[in-house]
Amino acid sequence: MKRREFLHALGPLVGGLPLAAHAARDVWVSGADATDRTRRALDADSLLIPMDDVQRNHLKAYGVTFRTLKRGGSAEWLLNYRDGSFLLPDTAGTRRDASLVGVQLEPISGGDVIAIRGEIQGSNMDAVPLEKAPKVAVYAPPNAAPWDDAVTMALEYAGIEYDKVWDPEVIAGKLGDYEWLHLHHEDFTGQFSKFFLSYSGSPWLVEMVRLNAATARQLGYDSVATLKKGVARAIRAFVEDGGFLFAMCTATETLEIGLAADGVDVAAQYSDGTPMDPDASRRLQWDRTFAFENVQLEQSAAIASFSDIDGHQVNNPALRQPLGAFKLFDFSAKIDPVPTMLVQCHRQVIPDFYGLTTSFTRNRLKPGVTVLADESGAPWVKYIHGEYGQGTWTFLGGHDPEDPQHQIGDPPTDLSLHPASPGYRLILNNVLFPAAKKRELKT
């Protein structure tokens, strides 16, 4: 479901009617989207997937829910109820799936469900129906291993299906086939994450340059930098047309720069053969981007930093900031269900983690950007969200929530050792959020 459909279905909620203001049973049987399937779920025994500390594998719980939807079943996301639990129909398939992957289930009766709805009704909670497994695409080079990127690691571990797309598919307009797009930690300025000088000669960098240059030639672009700007514009069009975009680490910052730099040379000489426009910062056009404005670019080709969007500047010795912890914001589940979904977690405060882009400088955010998490007292935020056209975008700073000091060449994170990772939960909230479909209310 694209966001425009999502918003349409959400219409009555925008009008300010709290969902749970109705008797639970009435809501479920009378709403336009209250299908026979959901009615059966209410009457039959259900399975609660608790997402508080009772749960031993939070990450795989998202996969169990996703696969339930994939099999044609329905589910509900109980926002703020036991840290964002899921309510599923009690089926042998779901029990088997959960048992295989080690997800805790609590079989509950119809009476229990009504009691839960009562609690939801009287609290800052809400029940959001999940009705369709989203079609997920990950923008990543064809030779990238799943372990290169936190989102693909999370998707693989949770067992959520996705397709890989890369420049040829994006330029060919294939993004329209998907509802949710994640960006591998890409450099949309075409500067190979600015590792060109410091990792000169490293086999992985040589291969990255070769692959990107060949792809640019194949698609008729004069340089990688030009190609990536084209890709960035296609991604923006995907969002504008109702897609859900999620990006982490350097993909956030460079996507914005790539979009703002239409007609401006922001790439170092080693990338496109010409030096960066010395006046590039002033010439960037921030009305074409999602999240940031008035950004100053890093002019040095040797410093693996792109701009002052990143608050931590991990690779800029003069500006590097230490890691702290970030706190998730509380939102009204009934009024702001979208940000509420994105921050469902069993921990409110999460240790920070570095990335090439670790955080987002507060005074570079556009007005209207929703901050989902920040570090108290710091001039940066960690997790942001917003709307663009008919779609939405969500940016999370940092590279790997369970490898805070991640270095190139580190062994991949094994998520079976972090099955309750709160940082990775934030990623999976994003994956499941496009599955949400608000039922229309009887008003």
Binding site: L100, W147, E156, S198, Q299, I303, V314, A318, G409
Partner: protein
Amino acid sequence: MKGAASVLLLVGLLGSALHTADAQSRAPLSEALQYERRGDIDKAVSVYRSVLRDDRTNAAAILGLERVYQSINSLDSLLPVLDSALDADPRSRFVREVQLRVYSTLGRSEHVGATAAAWIELVPASPDPFRQWAFVIAQSGDLDQAMSILVAGRDRLGGTALAPEMARLHMAIGDWPSAAREWRTASVSNPGNAPAAISGLNQAPPTERDAVLRQLRMPEPEPEVKRIAAELLVSWGRAEEGWTLLESALPRNPRTAAAVVRAFAERARRQQTRESARARGKALARLAELTTGDESKQARLDAAQAFADAGELSAARRLLDRVQLATGSRTSDAASAMATVIRISAESGRLDEAERRFREWESRLGADDARKLREAISWGWVMQNQLDRAEALLAGDSTVNSLAVLGWIATYRGDLRGAIERFRAAGPYAQSREEATRRTTVLALIQRVEPDTVPALGMALLRLAQGDTTSAIGGLERVAVDIPVRGGRADVLALAGDLAVAQGSFERSETLLLASLAAEAEGPAAPGAEYALAVAYVALGRHEDAARTLEHLILTFTNSALLPQARRLLDQVRGVIPQSRSDETA
């Protein structure tokens, strides 16, 4: 994220300058930092400037202003501040460095050159201006120009000037042979550079290491350069080659030489390979010659232990033969040394000698040493099928540790009832945790076997203890036929199958494990058998069979302790988590 590290090559600044901040200015500086952290730039600027009014060269305030001005893209506002600081102290290295950096960040390359030239004129014999000038140019990405600056500096200053900086720049460029050449120059002119040379060159990629060593070895290297090469060799897993090189370059002063050898032995110890143990043994043997008295004796004993660790038991014995321990001695050092002698004798299979020395020294050994040695010798006899002698040595020893060993002796005799009694008496805490686990595992097995006495089972287990896994598997398979179907047969076959998996005989393990499951599909041994079967299937590339087996295990034995690892293996079979080294060797 290592990117910045590689351009931090010429840094040697700032820290000391920060420490010079006037104590009185610390409170306002702390206040300014708080403002900076909250994003209140105007107030931070105001406080930093107020500190600089009283102390124009205050390093912390200048750095603070540099940060905040950079964050608001007003770095040029710092230039008058720096000019004022230079008026107060024209030779301030710190201020000159910041000035160069600021001009570089602002992209004013002509000012960078002019500032550097002015600084050079002020301190013509100092390498500092060239060093910092090259650093900011390197940071801007122009490594070639940075190198030109260093070369110009050397031309002007002469000799070996700026060698460490050139070495680091060559490393950043990826020119490891040139880096080695410069580090060689730097270390010969100042041996204090040797640790940095070792640390820097140690990062050379494997493909460049031989080229690095060639630069360090040709032409005939100076002793300090040989020592650098030796250190690199030991770090790169070529400890014996390193020792050969180091031995030819030891300082003449015995005390200095001893220190060098001791450091090498310690580095070799960290490598934990057979080769490094052998090199460590050689180094410690040399240390024994360089030292005297107790230190020499201890070095020789340590060398013997290192050779024993390397499996070089004859070399270990030769060293021990040279350790003169007076039997009349009652010193604890002598007793400790003798404990080593006895242990190595036992480990090398010279049990008669070990037992004779043990009985001779038993009363002078510490209680803990005596117990461990008694067990070690007793185990030695067990390994040689001398169960009676092993038992006799423990006679009269009623400690839980001895009871545990006696339990094993009974097991190997096939006296399962006696073994169970002794293991139970030993309890769960005797000996190490690993040993307790091993004991518990065999106890679980023999408790399931119904006959009280099964000598063939004991013999198979003894073969296993002796390291003859193939014979043990065959013995277990044969004896299983004589054990009742529900009286332990499945358990014995499961153990045999598990061993076959560990041995890499996966086809055979499949036969054994399926036979175990056929004997008792849901008995206590079944979860383990299914898990081992899945491991075998994975090794055979039969991932679908592995997944099916693991799913059956997880869904059938819902309370099994094996569930977490079964789920983890299932994840690996499905490719949703990466293979780890421990999994590969499991």
